[in-house]
Subunit: 328 residues, 2 copies
């Protein structure tokens, strides 16, 4: 990489996790591309998919807001949830993106226009522009249809996941391939393993692009396990699961949190499991690992109604960005 | 007025009529302010008022789009109507404005932000920032509550309008007063008499500002009467009605259309009455009058679903603007 150009970082993930990484990294001298899962089918996003046949706007929206350097009120607008009547629970940003997709016929164009309005630094790239449904088959024969159903089902750990796939199968957005080819670093995570992270690697063409990329691959471990999904997972259990979709050993650097959240905060988060532990398993050997206090000191100031299904225990975006920059 | 400054024009009215005037005038070297009625309570606007207690966004939205010099797709976004499910009939621009009003606590601020996004030339000013309902009392004792009810009632001509008022009474937006004080010309109309034009002059303080203004007052006559509201009205019947809320003789210049729409178009417009005729009544004397072919040659290319309750017989915005500029 030449001395004079800013390094290219591609962040692969979904809504809240990518939002945190991007919010922090945008304050550093780097070129950012967010590659975003298109599997969401719950909440406001799910209603829009059902009614208009659009692509899911929710994860894209969170990344756009994270990268915005425009008027803070327009950022608030994109995150605003209507609170009553027939619109209750809808996000204004989701409506904005879905209307633009209907007008332009393309979520890619809608994202570019919304990015212009929000004056984003970097770019946001839906991992695919094809409409897919995420499906999980468990070892006991049960099949879960759709990201929302999978996310809500709390017995995946008990029965074991046999297969996770997209239906129909879908090809990667060419913009994601270009960004990955030019990347100096690829950041994976944090995010829910089955509903936010792995669905990206199920899109045809993404795996090969990441595996063949010369970029440094960095994984950001989650703070907490997800109850019924990743019970008992330590840092390298996540790494093993992700590498099983990519290539064993491909993640060179692992960043994880060492500060335990307060018992009060853990008790308030009934949907979450336990803090993710660092356990030096065999997958640990030969990698760079960076354990730091990455915990946000106080609750993220998201409007309450947007906190539904969102975690209250969060990474501090500035600490996390500093950690990522230190391993660049 | 100094040679070097652009003349200030204030356009008083409502949605579609003001949209036409502003779309044409923005291509001329003038400073534009749209003063917009806040009485609408039907359709998408009515649903938003009921559910969120916001001010009516619909007329404001149409004026913002008319003044936009930004990306045409963002203009389309503001006019976009959702077509299915629980959002059916809602305008994306209305949702955008109502969300911004909820976030900022002020429709004025919401309009400024939306104006920034749409890169408008000029400004849009809600006539009042207080929540009002338009009420019509007829001579037979019947009372119609709300603009939508008044607009839909087709026996006003038969029974006669006794009183039109706002409940509760409301004071004018100070920005409107400032714009009127600095105006070189005030353009009134076109628009529905009872539901778009007169409601502006029912707001406390607007009448006095217009009456005391040194600006030239210009009235644009409607193309068609409204069935059940203004049956048989000729150009000066409108002038008399408007001046009864202002001051007799205050309108110096009247611009009206001389080209009759095709019978086919008239037949297709069941909600409208007959072409407005020029009849030289006593109100005619001493005024400047300008009769021209002002008719749009072909149908306005508004998306079909936005044509609900909208007229198909329209002024040509360029011809109209040229006529207005000629009397400046």
């Amino acid at each position: 990489m030449s001395e004079n150009r800013k390094p290219n970082i591609v962040v692969i993930g979904g809504g809240t996790g990518s939002h945190t990484v991007l919010s922090g990294l945008k304050k550093h001298p780097v070129n950012l591309t967010a590659v975003v899962t298109m599997a969401d089918d719950g909440g406001s996003t799910g209603r829009l998919r059902t009614e208009f046949g659009v692509l899911p706007p929710g994860d894209v929206r969170q990344c756009l807001v994270a990268l915005s350097e425009g008027d803070p009120i327009l950022q608030q607008l994109f995150s605003h949830r209507f609170q009553s009547g027939e619109l209750a629970g809808h996000s204004a940003g989701n409506l904005f993106l879905s209307a633009l997709e209907q007008i332009t016929g393309s979520l890619d164009k809608a994202v570019d226009l919304a990015g212009g309005v929000l004056q984003i630094r970097g770019s946001v790239c839906p991992v695919t522009l094809e409409k897919v449904r995420l499906i999980a088959e468990l070892n006991n024969g049960k099949v879960l249809y759709g990201e929302a159903a999978i996310s809500a089902y709390q017995l995946i750990s008990r029965f074991g996941l046999k297969r996770l796939y997209l239906s129909p199968s879908a090809q990667v957005n060419p913009k994601a391939i270009t960004a990955i080819k030019e990347a100096d670093m690829i950041v994976i995570g944090p995010g829910n393993l089955y509903s936010s992270l792995l669905p990206n690697f199920l899109v045809g063409g993404l795996r090969a692009a990441v595996v063949h990329s010369k970029a440094k691959k960095v994984f950001i471990a989650n703070l907490m396990t997800k109850h019924g999904h990743t019970d008992g997972f330590s840092v390298f259990d996540y790494v093993r699961e992700i590498e099983s979709r990519l290539k064993p050993g491909i993640i060179e650097t692992v960043i994880y949190n060492t500060k335990k959240p307060s018992q009060r905060l853990i008790h308030e988060n009934v949907d979450e499991g336990e803090p993710v532990q660092f356990v030096p398993t065999k997958e640990f050997r030969g990698r760079s690992v960076l354990g730091l206090n990455l915990l946000a000191d106080r609750l993220h100031e998201t409007p309450k109604v947007d906190m539904l299904r969102r975690t209250l225990i969060r990474h501090d975006s500035e600490k996390l960005a500093k950690a990522i920059m230190s391993v660049l």
